[in-house]
């Protein structure tokens, strides 16, 4: 009699866990057992429990009406979905077990990949801190959830600092190179960073760095590798975790890391998440369009108050992917004008934009081209026009900077100076 209620693990597909609202989760015997074990483990007090908790939480997040930010379609498979996290992967399908419009989740596979992550073969988030010798080093295992450290608690004054590396040789090199990118090449900041440590979303480099560079060129910086796709999902999840804990975060991407960062932002953008100005990004040597990044950070309501949010050496991949041959800053300025500028400052912004457009055309077509256009449209002499355009181009910064009141603002660019002048005039 009593045997009737004995739990019998069967291989049949059955619902797992209590589902109040939302989708039901179905799993076969062995997977249910894995989930049960982890659910039990997650209630204990240990570091293992912490990882188990992350897994149980991730499975339960599948019950929600929108699919989690770290879930993606499995590559080369039409229906199978993949939930990726630092320490595990869950494969699932969306079915309709009871029929009707309610879908439910069927767990197909659960893979623990902590080993892979610990061995730097898989993207994961690492808390980098000063070791006993006094140098920054990787801890024993990556963190499965984003948690602030003691020294960078994620407040406004001490935001969590997280780096995302690009295609950098070896693992330890990634650490020292990211140190200089996160500290923006500044000695004093670097010394402080050694004391505070930082976190690193380590993306393993591809075997052929040339291949990665070529993909960037071929796709104008729009394509990522499978590894990068996974990294972007994991990053999106960490971004969301930081948001749920109301942490202030400063993300710094290096090189191809920009692809991962921007992709992750776009995943959050699709879920219409408002980050309430608590997170900000910095792109260093980005190889993906800065304009895409700019649009995404505004859509997420990130902190855009920092004037300098990107820095790059003009390499080939950077010029093609990151700046789109100089078009990205223009598009960015246009976007800002249309959607993020108060009415009364429109005129100034437009002047700035016009100036920058002129600069762009001049750089792209050369002085002769612009002058040719000018001469053709006005019917004047071409050689005179060339001289005039060249003189104007060289003189404009000096002229503008000499206007009364122009130097009241910190100098950024001549276009910006013009904008401030025009807006000030109108306010008076």
């Amino acid at each position: 009699m009593g045997n009737m209620h004995l739990h019998q693990p069967s291989n049949a597909l059955q619902a797992w866990g209590t589902s109040g609202q939302g989708r039901a989760i179905f799993a076969k015997g062995p997977h249910r057992q894995v989930l049960d074990n982890f659910a039990q483990l997650s209630r204990q007090q240990s570091s293992e429990a912490y990882h188990a908790q992350a897994l149980v939480k991730a499975v339960n997040s599948l019950r929600g009406d929108a699919s989690p930010v770290n879930s993606m379609l499995k590559p080369n498979n039409p229906t199978r979905r993949l939930l990726v996290a630092g320490g595990f992967e869950i494969e699932y399908e969306l079915n309709s077990y009871y029929g009707g419009c309610q879908t439910d989740v069927e767990i197909m596979d659960i893979r623990l990949v902590t080993g892979e992550a610990e061995n730097f073969r898989r993207p994961a988030l690492w808390q980098i801190e000063k070791n006993e010798r006094g140098t920054l080093s990787f801890p024993q295992r990556p963190s499965s959830q984003l948690t602030p450290t003691r020294k960078l608690p994620g407040t406004l004054a001490a935001p969590v600092k997280i780096g995302i590396n690009g295609q950098l040789g070896t693992t330890n090199d990634a650490l020292s190179l990211m140190t200089s990118h996160i500290s923006r090449g500044d000695n004093a900041k670097r010394k402080a960073l050694r004391e505070s440590g930082f976190q690193l979303l380590y993306v393993p480099p591809e075997n052929r760095a040339w291949a990665a560079g070529w993909r960037t060129l071929k796709s104008l910086g729009n394509q990522g590798s499978e590894q990068q796709h996974k990294a972007a999902r994991i990053l999106a999840q960490h971004m969301l975790e930081a948001h749920q804990q109301s942490l202030h975060v400063e993300w710094t991407s290096q090189g191809e890391g920009a692809w991962v960062l921007i992709e992750a932002m776009q995943h959050l953008q699709r879920q219409q998440i408002n980050l309430e100005q608590r997170q900000k990004i910095f792109l260093s040597d980005h190889t993906r369009s800065r304009f895409t990044a700019d649009r995404a950070r505004r859509a997420l309501n990130m902190n855009t108050l920092d004037d300098k949010w990107h820095n790059a050496a003009p390499g080939l991949a950077q010029t093609v992917g990151g700046e789109q041959f100089g078009l990205a800053p223009l598009l960015s300025a246009g976007n800002e004008l249309l959607y993020h500028t108060p009415k009364e400052e429109h005129l100034g912004k437009s002047v700035n934009l016009t100036y920058q457009t002129g600069e762009y055309l001049l750089k792209k077509w050369g002085a002769a081209g612009v002058a040719g256009g000018l001469a053709a449209s006005t019917g004047g002499s071409a050689s005179l026009a060339v001289a005039a355009v060249k003189a104007l181009h060289n003189l404009a910064p000096t002229l503008v900077a000499s206007l009364p009141g122009a130097r009241n603002h910190y100098f950024k660019s001549t276009g910006d100076q013009l904008q401030n002048l025009v807006n000030n005039r109108r306010k008076r």
């Binding site: 894995v34 074990n37 293992e48 623990l112 080993g115 610990e118 061995n119 730097f120 073969r121 000063k130 070791n131 006993e132 010798r133 006094g134 140098t135 080093s137 024993q140 295992r141 040789g169 070896t170 693992t171 330890n172 090199d173 020292s176 190179l177 140190t179 200089s180 500290s183 000695n187 670097r190 010394k191 050694r194 393993p204 480099p205 075997n207 052929r208 760095a209």
Partner: protein, 359 residues
């Protein structure tokens, strides 16, 4: 030679060497070295430390944040201050090998212990050996990572994976005489990845020790682990290190001289410490298992086994651990300790024994 190569990395020219002098409240340290030649891989080589340090002031030192509690009566340093940090970039062929094929970094650190067990002094050689053992704590040379079995044997529920050490140490342990001062020297071989480290220790007080740590890291393409990095020989880096250390002079302050005179070392008795045979065997295995990190054998498909042949790794380790006396060597031991004598090397029991002897 105008250019270096991966097989013969080119470092700074010795003709540019100039004196580096540090004054530590009476104790004077002088050496010669070429000026800092930075590359992107050494974010913390500044060479901007002051020349004069007031070692009597408590603010000079910073406390060391250990992960493990200090074993009672152990001789592990509690505070330290970096008095000189520098580094030199080594280059290969221009453009083809990038801006760097490797570098040598150095840190000259003054370390201090709060309190020593009774009758102990770093001027006593036995005690300095025990002090050096303090570096083998969990967050440092004793650090480890999680190991794994062959890919097919991995277990889903294995929540207690084997602990694999990150380093094989101490190697080539010896006592040296450099400009009439005794130094304790040992080497560290990383077996996963990271820099090859070289430690030089010289006591400058009962409770104070000078440590010069040199790290050699190599930045090669398609060689992201310790075994594959050996592709580029280490000799040129070592040569520069030995050249720098051959110029170091340490003049003790008067109080330190008094302290040194109060300690008697038995003549011609130089205690040494070594890694064990078991550690060497383990290192061979770990290095073999990890010889595929950031490495890709171009003749094999993407998902094949990219580890190095087991025998090659073992041969490298066997060669690496051979003792190699440096100029001025006073005493050197075997490659490794044949019998596993972990029990007798316990640092905790020895002070008690001494106490008993004195009674």
């Amino acid at each position: 030679m105008w250019f270096g190569s991966e097989q013969n990395p080119k470092g700074p020219s010795w003709s540019k060497a100039r004196p580096v002098i540090k004054k530590l409240s009476g104790t004077r340290i002088a050496l010669e070295a070429p000026p800092l030649m930075p590359n992107v891989y050494m974010p913390f080589a500044f060479e901007d430390e002051p020349e004069i340090f007031d070692t009597d002031s408590p603010d000079t030192f910073e406390a060391i944040d250990y992960c493990s509690p200090k074993p009672p009566e152990s001789e592990r340093s509690d505070r330290r201050i970096t008095i000189w940090s520098s580094g030199w970039n080594f280059t290969g062929r221009p453009l083809l090998d990038g801006a760097s094929v490797g570098d040598l970094q150095v840190e000259l650190v003054l370390e201090e212990i709060d309190a020593l067990p009774i009758n102990c002094s770093l001027f006593r050689r036995d005690d300095l050996i025990r002090y050096a053992k303090g570096y083998f704590s969990e967050g440092w040379l004793g650090s480890f990572h999680h190991g794994f079995g062959e890919p097919r044997e991995r277990n889903l529920y294995d929540l207690s994976p084997p602990h694999w050490p990150n380093y094989l140490a101490p190697l080539n342990n010896q006592w040296l005489e450099l400009n009439s001062r005794d130094w304790l020297y040992f080497e560290v071989q990383p077996i996963r990845e990271g820099a090859d480290d070289f430690y030089w220790l010289c006591p400058i007080g009962h409770r104070r020790c000078l440590r010069a740590s040199f790290s050699i890291s190599r930045h090669l393409s398609n060689a992201g682990n310790s075994y594959r990095a050996q592709r580029s020989p280490i000799n040129n880096y070592r040569e520069l290190m030995e050249k720098i250390m051959s110029t170091i002079t340490v003049e003790l302050s008067e109080t330190a001289q008094q302290e040194q005179l109060s300690i008697e070392n038995p003549e011609n008795e130089y205690p040494l410490f070594h890694c064990t045979a078991a550690q060497v065997e383990q290192a061979k295995h770990v290095m073999y298992m990890r010889s595929d990190i950031c490495y890709h054998d171009k003749s094999k498909p993407e998902d094949a086994d990219h580890r190095a042949p087991k025998e090659d790794v073992a041969a490298f380790i066997d060669h690496r651990i051979q003792p190699r006396p440096l100029p001025g060597c006073l005493a050197i031991g075997p490659a490794y300790e044949a019998a596993d004598t972990t029990a007798s090397s316990h640092t905790i029991q020895q002070p008690d024994l001494k106490l008993a002897e004195n009674k």
